[in-house]
Symmetry: C2
Subunit: 368 residues, 2 copies
């Protein structure tokens, strides 16, 4: 169940209070923060997730190399706590601007120095990530706003701020997810599965053509690379409702990587995979072998670029693409040097996409 | 009122039937299509719109230079008519793939020739645009699917396929517009105005912070450059409900151009401005002079790039930026060479954005 805004506030206040306690006890203030370095990013084969390893770093106030970061962390904590108390929902960019100012000080010899609290947003974002890993709270739970990419339709009823929304009653429109999907109460789910579609326009087609009604499934899209909120929402459907999750993307390394981000997490956000990834997500297509199996002739196929090839060579080394099925697909791609779009299935007729999806899902023709 | 799918089908069939009539009467089949060339794109100062001029072109079947395009137009018309009859909602890319094939023919001397119906999507898209201008139907009305960018919240009730959606009852979520906003029946509007926000994250903030409730307004975003559907939806609110439309973007030439696309149309889609543009839309900010008026100090301001400068020099020549207010703003930008983001207003506190918006709107501090 989602944490209330009051509970989130309490966790943040307590984290800050530990620093106060250290000071009151005459100790040096030290923050202990899980290390977000690449060397501490680990593939956990059992949980099938990219996760943070056990390394922690200590951020010491009295260490000259650390004191600036220490100050930044405290400043950001203050801004976030204030935002919650004042009931505002800033973006990370708002926090950057709100916290940016110049500190002037005069040293014992009378020399004046100037220092910015932070110079660019990279610095302020980094301390937000530190606060996330240190407190175990997602920024979404802290009430930070961000672009929302996720949309949903199908047999699910959710509740946001007391309002029930029935995603079967939206016609040709869709529900745009809230910035914090943990805030959504899932009232009722009567779906057989979740179909995650890479492309927004395909999502729209399937919605208008009644796909989810025929199949009794939930349709989700995040228009390309998913944002955190969509990943969290899909994860909740998998974890809390045990719904099978199927992913449909173009047949190219970019699409396949999108699938892996839903399933295993991204390297950049490995510290959140634990809550954002859906290790049971299955890939239904489009695969490289679909080009052969579904007889997609050469005139509908696109030549892979050097960049595609390079990307595929990277994918094949990732620990989460080590299954036989995936290695075979990526090797086939590297051999054929061909990619294909979801829409190419329309060469077999404008309704063929439905047949393809049903064939893949009901005949268990997925890979993982 | 929106045209029904049956009515759209009838218009398309009749357009096709004219060709048939020509053939049956022993005449050469000729299509008459308004010309979408730059020289036929005209700024109409009275309607304050970019529109197509009176030039028409004739596409003759028996003209060797034209016959391929003639065939493409007929093929696309067939695909669209079939999609409507079969109740599918293809994307323009689906149509490209569905219609792409190779025609082989043997000439009287026994030589074999091959010709693709179209080679790339540019060709198939172009004939869709031709059919739009020739029939006066938007592709959205023809049931073509596309990515949807637009979201809405606030005091408006719409109906899609019989389902009523009350956009005050979505909590922290939002309504993602349908691909064809003409299909939406607007049941009830009780808003004072429409606020169009460039940035999705700012839209989310304002929604969560209850801005539309305090102000009794409709919030809209299309995350940057608006898609056709969002523009059409905003236009309908302005035209059918006489709601004032205010636009909020970053203070840079890119943001200002986004405003002008909502208001006057884009050069590329000038043939649709008539139905997509909102000539009464007003720009409330962020302006270049806001940097001075709202005391946004240098550390929150971003230096304009050469590209920004070049873009501003283009804007100042567009006929729809010729008001005194806009010329003054763009000249000020070119002089200061500074741009600023909406979020920079947060230097005055995380709640300042609300004060800024209310000041601009209620004290009529807009430009147009």
């Amino acid at each position: 169940m989602a944490r209330s805004r009051q509970e989130v506030l309490r966790i943040l206040e307590e984290w800050g209070k530990r620093v106060l306690d250290q000071i009151e006890q005459g100790q040096e203030p030290v923050l202990e923060i899980p290390s977000r370095t690449l060397s501490n990013t680990i593939w956990d084969p059992v949980r099938r997730l990219l996760v943070l390893g056990p390394d922690k770093m200590k951020r010491r106030f009295l260490d000259l190399k650390e004191s600036r970061k220490f100050m930044q962390t405290m400043l950001m904590l203050k801004l976030i706590v204030e935002a919650i108390r004042e009931n505002v929902y800033p973006t990370i960019r708002d926090l950057y601007y709100n916290g940016k100012h110049t500190i002037m000080y005069v040293d014992p010899k009378g020399r004046t120095f100037k220092e910015n609290t932070w110079d660019d947003q990279q610095e302020s974002n980094a301390v937000i990530e530190d606060i996330e890993v240190a407190t175990g709270l997602l920024r979404e739970e802290m009430g930070l706003s961000a672009d929302v990419k996720g949309k949903v339709v199908g047999p699910i009823i959710v509740k946001s701020r007391g309002f029930e929304i029935d995603a079967t009653r939206l016609g040709d429109a869709a529900l745009s997810l809230p910035p914090n999907p943990d805030e959504l109460e899932i009232v009722k789910v009567e779906a057989e599965y979740v179909l995650v579609v890479e492309k927004d326009a395909i999502f729209q087609r399937l919605n208008r053509e009644g796909y989810w009604k025929q199949e009794n499934c939930i349709l989700v899209t995040a228009k390309g690379m998913p944002d955190r909120a969509t990943r969290r929402f899909v994860r909740r459907l998998s974890e809390e409702y045990k719904l099978p999750v199927y992913v449909l993307t173009d047949a190219d390394p970019y699409g396949w990587y999108i699938y892996s981000v839903y399933r295993s997490g991204s390297i950049k956000l490995s510290y959140e995979s634990d809550r954002l990834a859906t290790p049971d997500a299955k890939f239904i297509g489009v695969t490289a072998s679909d080009i052969i199996d579904y007889k997609i002739s050469d005139e509908y196929v696109i030549a892979a670029t050097d960049r595609d090839i390079k990307r595929a060579q990277e994918l094949i080394r990732y620990p989460w693409f080590q299954s036989d099925a995936w290695r075979k697909e990526i090797q086939l791609f590297l051999k054929m040097k061909k990619k294909v779009e979801i829409e190419a299935l329309s060469t077999h007729g404008l309704k063929f996409l439905h047949d393809y999806l049903k064939d893949k899902i009901h005949n268990k023709k997925w890979i993982e």
